[in-house]
């Protein structure tokens, strides 16, 4: 690794960049290695630049530690402190004895455990719904291309430009009484899963990827006697695994974070995902320390998952943004 100021040539394989990590998979070699940024190797030798970089790095590191880890660390400690200590002097809890009971009380008593389960269930269902709708839709528009395809794809694309606010209230009324079939989806997970499927962005992202699959492959499979469904399940889907992963990831993250919609649709407490349970907690009877433990439990699971899968995660997110732009 080249050190600032000493490197004659900056290390050509910059493994840290999430977007340019060519080693992971041979076939996804996207971009050549980055040799330099705005600061050149010659610049890095100058003492002024060196000093500035050091200062900046330290300031940024301290700032990011405070901003990124600070709230997590505090909530971790608060989750095992007494309410009194947290409320009276929140900065002094570090030295107080541990109250492990809070965690269990939050998990069972405050139903954080079961609502986390609901969140997982909601996220998984939304992902399945999204993937099913958007892969079949994208395949239709990309490969099958019926005569009425352009109309459909125009109608799907149009929803991308409409702000979500316009359909919030009518969507809620739709859930209360589905037109034509007259079913009430309130307090069922379907009410959260199905609307997640109507995502124009995912359809377009997948369609663009399907478009890039060589037609010769589809042609060959067709000559070998595969029907449209067969081509879809045994050729298109396996080839699109990376992009499907990205779409799944984005859907999971979005549904994990969602608050307003599940609050409206899932009004029954034992169906509510953790975001809704947590938001209602200050109105409940739980002591403050248990609330803090609940907050911590809610934070720590996605954080651990993120830290474990950070490479895949960051790459997925940045590749999706590339598609967006």
């Amino acid at each position: 690794m080249s050190v600032i100021g000493t490197g004659v040539i900056v290390d050509p394989i910059d493994d840290q960049q999430p977007a340019a990590r060519p080693r992971r998979r041979g076939r996804t070699k996207v971009r050549e290695e980055r040799e330099r940024g705005a600061i050149s190797a010659t610049d890095r030798k100058r003492p002024v630049v060196k000093a500035w970089m050091w200062v900046l790095q330290i300031v940024m590191l301290v700032g990011l530690l405070f901003a990124g880890l600070g709230p997590l660390a505090w909530s971790a400690r608060a989750s095992v402190s007494t309410s009194q200590d947290i409320l009276r002097d929140p900065m002094s809890i570090w030295l107080k004895p541990f109250q492990w009971g809070n965690i269990g009380q939050a998990w069972d008593g405050a139903q954080i455990g079961s609502s986390l389960g609901n969140t997982v269930f909601v996220a998984l269902g939304s992902t399945v719904a999204t993937l099913f709708v958007s892969t079949t839709g994208a395949y239709l528009l990309s490969a099958l291309r019926p005569k009425w395809g352009p109309i459909l794809s125009g109608a799907v694309l149009a929803t991308l430009f409409l702000p979500g606010v316009i359909s919030l209230v009518p969507l809620y009324l739709t859930i209360l009484k589905m037109p034509v079939i007259g079913v009430n989806l309130q307090n069922t997970f379907w009410g959260v899963w199905l609307p997640a499927g109507a995502s124009a962005f995912n359809v377009i992202v997948l369609k663009r990827f399907f478009d890039s699959i060589p037609r010769e492959l589809i042609e060959a499979a067709r000559i070998d006697g595969a029907g449209a469904v067969r081509v879809f399940t045994t050729l298109i889907l396996p080839l699109s695994r990376p992009i499907i992963g990205v779409v799944a990831l984005l859907t999971i993250v979005a549904s994990w974070k969602d608050y307003l919609w599940p609050m409206l649709v899932l009004s029954s407490p034992n169906l509510q995902p953790v975001s809704v349970t947590l938001a209602n907690m200050p109105n409940g009877a739980m002591p403050f320390s248990v609330q803090m433990a609940a907050v911590f439990l809610t934070i720590i699971i996605p954080v651990i998952l993120f830290v474990i899968f950070q490479k895949q995660f960051l790459r997925g997110v940045s590749s999706a943004s590339g598609l967006k732009g």
Binding site: G68, P146, G197, V276
Partner: protein
Amino acid sequence: MTQTLERPSTGISRPGRPPRRKRRLSFTGWFRSGGFVAVLFAVPIVLTFLYFSWGPVVSGLVMSFQRTNLVAAPVWVGLNNFAFVLTDPELPQAALNTVYYAALGLILGFPVPIILAVFINELRRGSWAYNLLAYLPAVVPPVAGILLWKFFYDPSSDGIFNSILSWVGLGPFPWLNSEAMAMPSLVLYTTWAGAGATAIIYLAAIGGINTELYEAAEIDGSGIWSRLWHVTLPQLRNIIFIMMLLQLIGTFQLFTEPFLFTGGGPNNATQTVMLKIYKYAFVNGDYGSATALSVILALFLCLLSVVYYYFTRRWSPS
């Protein structure tokens, strides 16, 4: 073998060829040319979009001209809902707050991820740590983050932020309790929550900048700051414009933060248009007024996007 070769087209069209000749109009012909399979694949997307996207948009437009209470049949009331919403004495304040929030977000929050991304991009080692730390807040579920920050914003001198600031001799600040500081506090939180995620997007864009541009600028004698200003920023122009518009659209539809932090208070200082829509629909049960206000906000956002598009196109390359 010949049989498989003679199989009718499954409807997968080949690029580079003229569109299929018009077939004779018969059901079997349509079926064998893949028409049925196409319909089969269209069912999920059409149904989902009908029910959860196109349908609600249309019924939202219709409902904004109706009085609906879910019990009696809806009654057409013309523009009454719009008149009611627009003459609501709280609306000007809510609209101003929303604009204020969007403006503050642009001024305070928007540059942060760009600076972060430019900085991380220049690091030659350890950038993963900066990346990880910057992204962590984006992983925290918003509701948990808000509850935590609400406590951090404790206005007493023992509050977390106030005690930290008192180390350097500042404060105590009233944060969410004062009309003047409530909105900036919300912006501070959303910047914290969103900057890392946005920085990743900029980082990807910066990685795509042709480094020869930097070299050329350097040979021409421009310094580091000037290179950042004259090469990096102009190269990011397009993505910056897109992100700015997305942020504007997002902030105008802000709900969770003011709802959970302040509920619109103190003294309506954080009352936003989205909160009003929520209140009309789910507190008052006045769906007509709620959809009318939604339609107005949506129209405004569409107009904003169009104006923005024409405005920024002049500065875009090509």
